[in-house]
Symmetry: C2
């Protein structure tokens, strides 16, 4: 199994309790109580399971990466009692663009990295890719965020800023799942 | 199953007869007689099977893409009685680079697309990605080439030019498999 593969499994068990599941655009996901993150594949009983692999950088420049690395903190911080799981699927039109066209929309027009870095180190994140798995997956990306409950307003501001950008015109399915560690 | 998934299956059957398997760098692959390309996964008996998904463009600019599209021809041409299957794995150092650093090595320093387009339309190609599958795969990319036996020297020139570039310093495993349609 690819060591970079992670499964986000919703059901009766898991250290994360699901506070809300909000459908932003497209088809919804069934409700569920708890969530666990497994390294590798998952084939047991659950309400739903989403999986993706962490991978190489796709858009950030060297300068942006250096800035991010100097400010960001990892997952698993004690103070991070809140989390968000946001799976997204982009349109065929997005995937038909060249790399430079996607980069232009992602950063020059929509300031994706620039917006994200403003909320560091409070909001930690990890991106997983699903589109190039051998199976058909319901989303292209799964992003996992961790932060303190005190920063929930800040997190709302972050996702709102991203959703207002041109990049989000290419998002055809998005679910915003909020969790608390219990 | 992802419709973009393809399996390259070596064994007793298949419309392509394997002429040679040359290890360019790294561990070799077992010898085999014939090869078939299946859309989707493969779990039957074989000498070896490699799989990968076609995906979105990673490096070409809009201008480069337009130039390629105007010159290239598809797979399956009657005159294409020869083929090559070249699986490649790149080093961790390559995957740690940012997109712009990889693009710089790929094109500005190594002229990968520029070299490839010189051999169009004679040599048709299709790229498959393996690195972000859920399973551990032996290669990062699988490229399938088709051309006429009359153009074998031209194909040798193409791969030789690419192997001389800086980009190939990041290639840690490469096998060059030549085939004929029978």
């Amino acid at each position: 199994m690819n060591k970079r593969l992670f499964s986000f499994v919703a059901g009766e068990c898991g250290e994360w309790s699901i506070r809300s599941i909000q459908t932003i655009v497209g088809e919804s996901l069934p409700t569920s109580k708890r969530l666990t993150i497994e390294n590798g594949d998952f084939s047991g009983k659950c309400d739903w399971a989403l999986r993706g692999v962490t991978s190489n950088e796709r858009y950030v420049t060297k300068a942006e990466k250096t800035a991010l690395v100097s400010k960001q903190e990892g997952l698993g911080r004690k103070a991070s009692n809140y989390a968000a799981l946001i799976p997204i699927r982009k349109t065929d039109a997005w995937w038909s663009l060249t790399q430079e066209e996607r980069r232009d929309i992602f950063e020059e027009q929509s300031r994706h990295t620039d917006i994200g870095q403003k909320f560091l180190p409070n909001i930690a994140r990890k991106l997983h890719h699903c589109r190039d798995l051998a199976s058909v997956e319901p989303f292209d990306f799964i992003t996992w965020f961790e932060y303190s409950s005190e920063d929930e307003t800040m997190f709302d501001e972050l996702v709102q800023s991203l959703r207002e950008g041109i990049e989000w015109q290419y998002v055809e399915r998005e679910i915003d799942i909020r969790l608390v560690k219990e």
